[in-house]
Symmetry: C2
Subunit: 237 residues, 2 copies
Amino acid sequence: MQMCPMSTHTENCLLCKARKPGWFCNLAPQALAEYDAMSSHVMLPMGSILFAEGQAARSVSVVCEGRIKLSRSSQDGKTLLVKIAKPGDVLGLSAALSKTPHEVTAQAIEHAQIKNFQQSDFLHFIQRHVEGSLHAAESLSNEYRTALSDACRLALSSSIAGRVAHLLLELAIEGGTDQDVHPEIHMPLTHEDLASMLGSSRESITRALNNLRRSGTISIRGTKLTILKKESLEMLL
Amino acid sequence: MQMCPMSTHTENCLLCKARKPGWFCNLAPQALAEYDAMSSHVMLPMGSILFAEGQAARSVSVVCEGRIKLSRSSQDGKTLLVKIAKPGDVLGLSAALSKTPHEVTAQAIEHAQIKNFQQSDFLHFIQRHVEGSLHAAESLSNEYRTALSDACRLALSSSIAGRVAHLLLELAIEGGTDQDVHPEIHMPLTHEDLASMLGSSRESITRALNNLRRSGTISIRGTKLTILKKESLEMLL
DNA sequence: ATTGACATGTGATGCACATCACACAGCTGC
DNA sequence: GCAGCTGTGTGATGTGCATCACATGTCAAT
């Protein structure tokens, strides 16, 4: 967690508490000033929709506070939960770079705060600052990798139990406490959410989690999920 | 299809015939020279493996000729066919930018030819040339979008028929002849390949395709697949 | 023509999971 | 206290598809 080089900026913007300090606190001061000048702060009340799937993309945003749900739906009402964006995450990047409509819907699931950029301003900025475009590339690289992982989880683990295990292990790695013996995951996700991340039904997730609990593989207290037997999860592939 | 600005270069490198002329023929002449100087041409015999899943990433490559299969496997032998890379595609980009091991295995399924860069050279190059890092970002953006699409196909279309329809429609768009009444798809893919793109079994794909043939929705002659009733495919979601 | 390797077609079987249906728990706001 | 909502637990039922098992087709090599 590194501090933002501009002290005045530190006070104004919550982003400096973000998990990805690389995103813009690493910009050279002069680029940072420019970056800051062209951004506007926006408050998103819980439930509000920042942009929707299929909409023309007009802005790029960086999450400062709160969680934003990124999802994609099919005609018949099914929904894939793509990601829960957290402070530091960039939204609308891929749409801006590919000059295509938004590929997902972004909805605030808590009261949230973002930094907002006109798409044209943003593109112009990264065209003039290598650091910016590199950060964009890195960010997209990570999004690509997680999307690929999602696809693999869905395609390769035939059983629901396998998919759940895979997801839990990934959340544990992402959660930071990596080589912990008993990694804990903070999961403010309903079974419904998990189901729509795993392309499954709510009931199946309930049953799968309970099986894991009963076999002593995991334990759940509130939003805290603890992995007790990592090997058991890995055995489910 | 635009010509490469350096005429000598045009003769040396088949990449100028690539589908994504944006990748490096758009570089300013001085950057292009530098780019060219640090690359080496490599021939890949059919079947050879450029890199494998989990390997430390040491280079970045651009496909000049031939097709490269990108896949990912699970312990129990199942394989997800991620993509068939074609001339102009960049390989190893995401591993380089995230500084992580390769996330897929790359195998030449034809005699192929690539331009190869030491990872460090490549990273250094894009750190000094905005055009380069922008191209990288765009490229990753596209990869992200297709990976996301794959995930959605797997998660949202419950039935095999739906997944097949979805894939065919996407291949048709990608294939270029977009608003054609009866889009044709050149598909040098076996049913086995399709199955491992769709997380399904070979037999199911055979049956699904034959159902579509019999209902007059598509027709197949050799590697040429023609979509006769686009609406019927869309109806399967 | 014969062999072999690989792609495709097709039936029979069983099971994992979606779906429906309902019960209960916890929490909020009156 | 009650009502209302959202999340969770659990049985019963039907089915889509993976899986197994072969048959047939296609193309190359010798």
